[in-house]
Amino acid sequence: MKITTIARNTFKEAKRDRVLYLLFFFAAGCLLFSRFLALLTVGDRIKIIKDVGLASISLFGMLMAILMGTGLVYKEIDKKTIFTLLAKPIHRVEFLLGKFLGLVLTIFIMTGLMAAIFLLILFLHTFTVEWKILLAILYIFFELCLMTAVALLFSTFTTPILASLYSLGFYLIGHLSWSMEMLIKKVKSGAGRAALQVLYIVLPDLENFNFKTEVVHNLPIPAKLLGISFLYGVVYTAFILLLAMLVFRRRDFI
């Protein structure tokens, strides 16, 4: 199938990206270093390793998703490899989806590797393997898939640097949804409040994928939220990809 062919090719191209390995190196460094951070702070050592570890995987995974996502499509357009590709009897949409799947596969593998290192470090400290940690990492991965789609969207119409900045902005907005909720409570009801509420619902809420607190502090994770967050991720990712399709299908390749 055309989409899988492009996905495989994208994966081949992505794993040659040196930035990926640089970020992975930093992530591994952070994971190893978390042990030493414990000495500087007030809390429980294991909790800190877990917290820092999950945060590192989340942060570096996000950087990977953004840098790769914005770079790959732009490179194809800039280097004109895209001409021969799109001259074939293929829908532009198939090209986009293939690129997306290839990137997701790459992110999946990188996340898996980081998770393996993290679990190893934890095992060396606690001699147990907590499956809840894997759950938190799984949902981090879902968040990364959404970020990949966002990076892809921005790369369809702007340069890699701007696309990266916009993607970063999306990430920040996504994690500040709670502050908007607080703000709305303080605004008097009226047109302004209604507008803010619409914005609040439509803007992404990436905290839905964040189960770090529950996992680190051994709090229960409501199963209902797991289901809702997963669906939210799938639908929002689809939304972003549809936007990307809308932009990409009519683009002139001068």
């Binding site: 607080m182 619902i201 689809a238 299908r249």
Partner: protein, 286 residues
């Protein structure tokens, strides 16, 4: 329109249709996710912040900005009464703020007030104000406030010590001397408190001192007013067997000459179901 253009148009319409559909769907899902309760751990993000000393290095020269952000967050956090366990890391949080921006006056003052009036821990308040004085030896308001708190706790030894410290700092108003003298034998009553803060307000050279004094004045007046109104409401109930529907009723029956307003000029909040009278705002929040 050519057949190709028709096809493109149909595709575009399909995409737009799916876009709107997915937008509605994820909006609904978001709404659902908000309804699921999630346990919050108080200050969970902040306790793993390294102590202020190290944080200062990480913030690359933006330490006062970071201090601002943390302070803003702390105010919202401590103003939110739903978190019962929120004072556990009060000292840590405010010590971080003081490390990041030692000259920032508000956090010391507010931190101490939260410690005393919300957490009920005056010793913590003293520690915070001591931190403030240590970083800002010219701020007489810190030991002054500590003395005030000690006096309210009827701990006159401590109060006298703090007033002495405040007195020795150049720029302290004359009232501090008098308080130092009286700390040994007089308890604070509202009249005294009002006079004290009024003098501070009138002799203050800086705006921020005026503001602190104003907030204290607000508190004194609102305490006096709400207590009095509460008493009158009780009297009304004893007389008429029910609670008044609003405060103006008290004027009509002659129990009150006129309904007082708070220092901002706003009305007090009266709950006809419980008979409670409350001030319009939390006195230390600006």
């Amino acid at each position: 329109m050519s057949s190709g253009e028709k096809l493109l148009r149909r595709q575009r319409n399909l995409i737009i249709f799916l876009l709107i559909g997915s937008l509605l769907l994820f909006s609904w899902l978001k709404h659902q996710s908000d309804r699921v309760a999630r346990k919050k751990v108080p200050g969970s993000s902040i306790i793993y912040l390294p102590s202020g000393k190290y944080l200062k290095h990480i913030t690359f020269g933006y330490s006062s900005l970071v201090a601002d952000i943390i302070y803003l967050w702390a105010i919202q956090y401590y103003g939110n009464y739903e978190i019962p366990d929120r004072f556990k890391y009060l000292e840590h949080i405010f010590s971080i703020i003081s490390e990041l921006d030692p000259k920032y006056v508000d956090p010391y003052e507010v931190g101490a007030l939260i410690a005393v009036y919300e957490a009920g821990d005056p010793k913590l308040a003293y520690r915070i104000l001591d931190m403030g004085l240590e970083k800002n030896p010219d701020m007489w308001i810190f030991p002054f406030q500590a003395g005030h708190i000690a006096q309210m706790q009827k701990d006159f030894e401590v109060a006298r010590e703090y007033y002495r410290k405040a007195m020795e700092i150049p720029g302290a108003p004359p009232i501090v001397k008098r308080l130092y003298a009286h700390a040994a034998y007089r308890t604070m009553d509202y009249q005294e408190a009002w006079e004290m803060w009024k003098e501070v307000y009138e002799t203050a050279q800086e705006d921020w001192v005026k503001e602190i004094a104003y907030n204290h004045l607000y508190r004194v007046k609102s305490t006096v007013d709400t207590t009095a109104l509460g008493e009158l409401v009780k009297k009304f109930r004893e007389k008429y067997g029910r609670l008044p529907s609003d405060l103006k009723t008290l004027v009509r029956v002659g129990l009150l000459k006129e309904v007082p307003k708070d220092l901002d000029g706003k009305d007090y909040v009266y709950d006809p179901k419980t008979g409670e009278v409350k001030p319009a705002r939390v006195w230390w929040k600006r």
